[in-house]
C-alpha cells in the first residue's frame, strides 16, 4: 500500500498564480497523500515562472513541465511533507437530510465521541483535519469516561427545545400581594433559591474551559444549564421583589456550603455534589414550594425551574453512572468527597433557620397556630422525602443501599 501514489489532474485554464490558481491548487494538494502527484494543466505562461517558485516556498517538489496538445502546459508537482496531508477518512459519516429538524443526537450518531482527545488539536471541531505542530491547550478533561456520558446529546436537544422566557412566560399579573408574614416567608424562600442558583451558575462554568472541544456537546449542554440557572435567578429575584418587603437573609450555613461546592476541583465530584445531591434535593424543595405556592405566578415559575433542574439531575446522574461503569474506584472517591465536604461543614448546624421558618409559614399559609402546626408537619415530611429521594437516586447511580443511606445522611443541611 505504501508504494501507492495517487495522481490527480487539475485544469487551471489561464488563471495566474496570484489570480485564483492557488485556490484550486492548494485544496487539490491537500487531497493527496505525501508524495502524491498532481498534474496542473495551464494556459498561462506566467505559471511556468511562478509555479516552481511557489513549490519551493511551500516545500512541494516541482517535477517539471511539458507542452501537451491544445497549447497547454502540464506541470507536475509532488506533494511535500510539510502541508496538511490527506488523512484516513475521519471516523465520521454524512449527516442525513431530515424533515424539520437536525438534532445533536443525530450528529453524535455519525460523529462519535473519541475515547481520548489530544490537547494539541485545540479548538478544532471534532472531525476537522488538524495541521500538525499546533500548540498544546490546557484542557484537562481529555477522556470520554470522565466527561461525556452517551446521553449528553439527547439531553442537550431537550434543553434547547425547553428554553423559556423569564420576562414573558410567567403569568406575572397573577402574582398576588401577600399579607406581611407570608410575603416575608416567600421573599426569604426566593432569596435562598436565588443564592443557591447563583452557585449552580458558577460551579459548572468553572469546568467548561477544562473540557476538550472533542466533547463539545458536554460544554454545550452545560451552556444550556448556565442559561437555565440565569433564568431561575432572574425569576426568583423578581418574585422576591414583588413581595415588597425586601430580600431575605443569606445565612452563613448557605455561604459555607456553597463555598465548599465551588472549591471542588474534580468535574465528576462537582457534578455529583451539585447535580445529583444538590439539584436532586432541590427537586423536592421546588415541588414543596409549588404545592404551597400562594399564587399561579409563583407556582408556574417554580414548576418551570423544576423541569430544568430535573434535566440537570439527569445529566449529573448520567455523568456519574458513566464514570462508575468505567471506574469502580469512583464510588470511594465520591463518598470521600461527600465526607470531606461534611467535615468542612461540621458544626454549621441544620437547615438555615430563616429558611426552615419561611418554608413552615409558606406551607401554613398563615400564622394561625393550627395552620403553623400543619406547616411544620409538611416541612418535616419534606426532609423525609428529600432523604428518601436521595437514597433512591443514589441507588439509580449504582450505590448500595448502605452507601446511599450514608451519603444521604452526610449531605449538606443547606440542601445544595
Amino acid at each position: 500500500m505504501s508504494a501507492e501514489i495517487a495522481v490527480m489532474a487539475l485544469d487551471c485554464g489561464d488563471l495566474p498564480l496570484g489570480g485564483g490558481l492557488l485556490s484550486l491548487l492548494r485544496p487539490a494538494l491537500n487531497d493527496l497523500e505525501g508524495g502524491g502527484i498532481l498534474a496542473v494543466l495551464s494556459r498561462a505562461a506566467s505559471v511556468r515562472e511562478d509555479l516552481p517558485s511557489w513549490c519551493r516556498a511551500e516545500r512541494h517538489e516541482y517535477l517539471g513541465v511539458e507542452a501537451i496538445p491544445g497549447d497547454i502546459d502540464r506541470h507536475m508537482i509532488a506533494r511535500g511533507v510539510f502541508s496538511v496531508s490527506k488523512q484516513a477518512p475521519p471516523d465520521e459519516g454524512k449527516l442525513k437530510p431530515s424533515e424539520g429538524e437536525q438534532t445533536a443526537s443525530s450528529v453524535l450518531d455519525i460523529s462519535p465521541l473519541p475515547l481520548t482527545a489530544d490537547p494539541s488539536t485545540g479548538f478544532a471541531p471534532r472531525g476537522a483535519r488538524v495541521e500538525p505542530g499546533g500548540p498544546a491547550y490546557p484542557f484537562t478533561l481529555n477522556q470520554r469516561e470522565h466527561v461525556a456520558p452517551p446521553e449528553v446529546a439527547r439531553l442537550y436537544d431537550q434543553a434547547v427545545s425547553a428554553q423559556w422566557d423569564a420576562t414573558r412566560d410567567i403569568p406575572w399579573e397573577k402574582a398576588k400581594t401577600l399579607p406581611f408574614p407570608l410575603a416575608s416567608a416567600l421573599a426569604q424562600v426566593m432569596t435562598f433559591l436565588a443564592e443557591n442558583e447563583l452557585s449552580a451558575l458558577y460551579v459548572p462554568a468553572r469546568f467548561i474551559p477544562r473540557i476538550h472541544p472533542a466533547y463539545a456537546e458536554v460544554a454545550m449542554f452545560l451552556a444550556t444549564q448556565l442559561a437555565d440557572e440565569a433564568r431561575h435567578i432572574d425569576v426568583f429575584l423578581k418574585r422576591a421583589r414583588l413581595c415588597g418587603v425586601g430580600l431575605g437573609i443569606s445565612s452563613v450555613t448557605t455561604s459555607r456550603s456553597l463555598l465548599s461546592l465551588m472549591q471542588t476541583e474534580d468535574f465528576t465530584e462537582a457534578a455529583f455534589l451539585l447535580s445529583v445531591l444538590g439539584e436532586g434535593t432541590f427537586l423536592d424543595l421546588l415541588s414543596f414550594i409549588e404545592r404551597f405556592a400562594p399564587d399561579e405566578a409563583t407556582a408556574e415559575l417554580v414548576r418551570r425551574a423544576k423541569n430544568d433542574e430535573s434535566r440537570h439531575v439527569h445529566f449529573g446522574l448520567a455523568h456519574v453512572r458513566y464514570g462508575l461503569t468505567n471506574d469502580p474506584s469512583l464510588y470511594g472517591r465520591l463518598e470521600a468527597a461527600v465526607r470531606r465536604r461534611a467535615a468542612a461543614l461540621h458544626g454549621v448546624g441544620g437547615v438555615p433557620a430563616p429558611l426552615q421558618d419561611a418554608l413552615t409559614i409558606l406551607a401554613a399559609g398563615s400564622t394561625e397556630p393550627k395552620a403553623v402546626a400543619r406547616g411544620h408537619e409538611a416541612y418535616r415530611e419534606l426532609l423525609e422525602t428529600m432523604h428518601t429521594s436521595r437514597v433512591r437516586r443514589l441507588g439509580h447511580a449504582g450505590f448500595t443501599l448502605e452507601q446511599a443511606e450514608t451519603i444521604s445522611d452526610l449531605h449538606t443541611p443547606n440542601f445544595m
Binding site: 495566474p16 498564480l17 496570484g18 517558485s53 499546533g134 498544546a136
Partner: protein, 270 residues
C-alpha cells in the same frame, strides 16, 4: 575568541523578531546541553569584522556577508548550515502588463525598479543575470530603493517598494526575490491584472552560518548537533522556524555562491 564553553553567535537585528528567534534558539541549545549566547549587530559589515577578529564564534550571514567571509579568510572559514529556503533561491523580473515588455530585450529604455544596493536577490544578482542574458542594463532607467542599507535586503522593505512602484506605474519592470513574489501573490497583494512575472534568474544560495576558522571542532559539532535537532513538528520549535522562515535546517554547500562572487567582481564590489 571566547575561551569558555559558550558558543557566541552573531546575528543582525533587522527586525524585533530577531530577539525572539535567538532567545528561543538559545533556550533550545541549552536543552540540548550546548551553551550558546548571541550578540546582535545593526549591520552585516560590523558582524563580519567582529567574526574575523574572533570576537564572535559564528555569524548568521547573508549570502553577501558569507562571500565576504570566504574571501577574507581565503576559504578557511567554516560553513556550518543553512535553511532549506536558502537553497535554490531565484530572483524574478516582474513587469507591468501594459509596459509592452515581452522579453528581457524590451527592458531597454524602460524604468526598472530595483531593491537595496546590498540586496543579493533584489539588486546584485538580478542585474548580473540580466546582463548575462545580453541586455545592456545601462540602457534602462534604474529606480533604486536603497532602504535598510547594511541589512543586505533582510527586511524585504525594498522589494515591497519595488512591487508598489510597479502597481502604481512608477516603474515598468522590477526585480524581487522569488519568495517575496510568490508570498505576496499568495497573500493576495498582487494585482495579476496589472503586474506579472516575465523571467526567473538561475538559482543561487542564500544565508549561511559562518564560523571563525579556529573554532574548536567540539564547538562546531555541538552547534550542528543542536541546530539540526530543531524540528517543525515540535510546536515551540516550529514557532521559531516559522519566524526565521524555514521548515528544516540543512547542511552547508558552497556551490550556490559562485554567481554572487562573479557578480561582485564584475560590479567592482569585492
Amino acid at each position: 575568541m571566547s575561551n569558555d564553553e559558550t558558543i557566541l553567535l552573531g546575528a543582525v537585528a533587522y527586525d524585533p523578531k530577531v530577539l525572539t528567534i535567538w532567545e528561543g534558539i538559545r533556550e533550545h541549545f541549552q536543552e540540548q546541553g550546548v551553551p550558546m549566547d548571541f550578540a546582535l549587530f545593526s549591520n552585516y559589515e560590523r558582524q563580519v569584522e567582529e567574526l574575523l577578529k574572533g570576537h564572535i564564534d559564528i555569524a548568521w550571514n547573508t549570502p553577501l556577508a558569507h562571500v565576504h567571509v570566504r574571501q577574507r579568510t581565503r576559504g578557511e572559514s567554516l560553513s556550518l548550515g543553512m535553511r532549506d529556503t536558502d537553497r535554490d533561491f531565484h530572483a524574478k523580473v516582474v513587469v507591468r502588463r501594459d509596459a509592452g515588455i515581452k522579453s528581457l530585450k524590451d527592458l531597454a529604455g524602460k524604468t526598472l525598479a530595483v531593491g537595496s544596493a546590498d540586496s543579493t536577490q533584489a539588486r546584485i544578482l538580478p542585474l548580473y543575470f540580466i546582463a548575462k542574458e545580453g541586455v545592456d542594463v545601462s540602457q534602462t532607467k534604474l529606480l533604486a530603493f536603497d532602504t535598510d542599507l547594511g541589512k543586505h535586503g533582510d527586511t524585504g522593505t525594498s522589494e515591497i517598494d519595488v512591487l508598489k512602484a510597479l502597481h502604481e506605474g512608477r516603474a515598468d519592470a522590477g526585480t524581487v526575490g522569488d519568495l517575496i513574489w510568490v508570498n505576496e501573490q499568495s497573500a493576495g497583494h498582487v494585482d495579476s491584472g496589472k503586474v506579472e512575472v516575465l523571467w526567473t534568474t538561475p538559482g543561487f544560495d542564500h544565508c549561511m552560518f559562518d564560523a571563525h576558522p579556529s573554532l574548536a571542532p567540539e564547538k562546531t559539532e555541538a552547534f550542528k548537533r543542536a541546530l539540526f535537532a530543531m524540528k517543525w513538528e515540535n510546536p515551540q520549535q516550529r514557532r521559531l522556524l516559522e519566524l526565521e522562515g524555514l521548515r528544516e535546517w540543512l547542511p552547508p554547500r558552497e556551490t550556490g555562491y559562485q554567481s554572487l562572487q562573479e557578480a561582485l567582481q564584475q560590479q567592482g564590489r569585492e
